[in-house]
Symmetry: C2
Subunit: 140 residues, 2 copies
Amino acid sequence: MKAEFLVAVHALVYLNKHPQLITSDRLSKSICTNPAFVRRVMSKLRQAELVATKEGIDGGYYLLRSAAAIDLRTVMKALDDSAVSLASQRSDVSSDCLMAQQMKQLMENLCQDLDDLCQQKLQGITIGSLSLSINEKETF
Amino acid sequence: MKAEFLVAVHALVYLNKHPQLITSDRLSKSICTNPAFVRRVMSKLRQAELVATKEGIDGGYYLLRSAAAIDLRTVMKALDDSAVSLASQRSDVSSDCLMAQQMKQLMENLCQDLDDLCQQKLQGITIGSLSLSINEKETF
DNA sequence: TTTATCTGTAATTAATATAATTACATTATT
DNA sequence: AATAATGTAATTATATTAATTACAGATAAA
C-alpha cells in the first residue's frame, strides 16, 4: 500500500466534504504534499471515472459518484496498487536456482491469495463511511 | 512482506528436506543469495526458537520443531515483518495538517485490520505443507 | 594448543523503489 | 491576449532494503 493510496483516499474524502471544484493546490495543502503529486494521483482517479476535472481558470476536481458508492477496493485498483505484495528489492534469481524460483512462485501465489482476502474487506469500506471518522477542522 | 520472509521460508523448507546440519553457505547457494544475509535471517529464527545452531567446525543449522508445527505466521513474527503495511516513504506530515494526521491514523488502523486477516490465513499454512509443493532437484 | 571452519554481528556500500520537485505544454475563462 | 488551472514527462532527492565486507567468537580436530 503506497502513499498514493493514502493521498487518493484523503482527496476523495475532502471532495466529499467540500462539494465544489477543488484545486490540486488546495488538496495538496490539506494532504501535506505537493500539487504535482496530487495531480498525478487525481489523474488516475479521473481515468477510473471516480472524479472529473475542469481545466483552465477556476478549474479543479469534483466527485463523479456519491461517496457511499466509492469503495476502497475500487480506489486501490484505480492506482494499480495492492494491499499485499512481495515488496522485495531482490534482483531476479538466476535460472539455475531451481528451488529459489519455485519458492518465489509459491510466495507470489500466497501474496495473491492474501491480497484477495484484503480486497474483499476493502470492498466493504466506502469513502462515505470513512468521511464520518474524519473531523474536518481546517478552515481552508 | 520482505525478502527476509522468503529467505526464511526457503531455509526452513530446505532444513526440513535435509535433516542434518546445514551451513549458511549451502543455504545461500540454494536460496541464491549471500551467506551473511542468510545468517542474519537465521539468527532471528534462532531467537524465536524455530531452529538451533551449532557453531564452529562442521557447524550449521537444524530445525527445532517438526515442519508441521511451524506456521507462516510464526515465521513472519520472528522476522518482525507483516503482510500489510503502509510501505510509504513519506516524510512525517507536519502537525498543522490535522486532516492528514487523522487520515494517517485511519490508514494505519486499516492496515492493522487487514494484516490481522492475513495472519489468520498464514497461521493455517505450515512449512510442512509448503514442503510438499517444492520439488527438490538440486544435488547439493 | 594451534589451526581450520563455522556462526554472529556490525558497518559499509550498492541497488531499488518511492516521493518530491521542476518545468512546461495544454486548456478554459475572462 | 492574459491568467489560472490541469496533464504529464523528466529529473532529483530520499528512504528502504539487500549485498558485501570484515572480523570477533566458538568449536572441534590435528
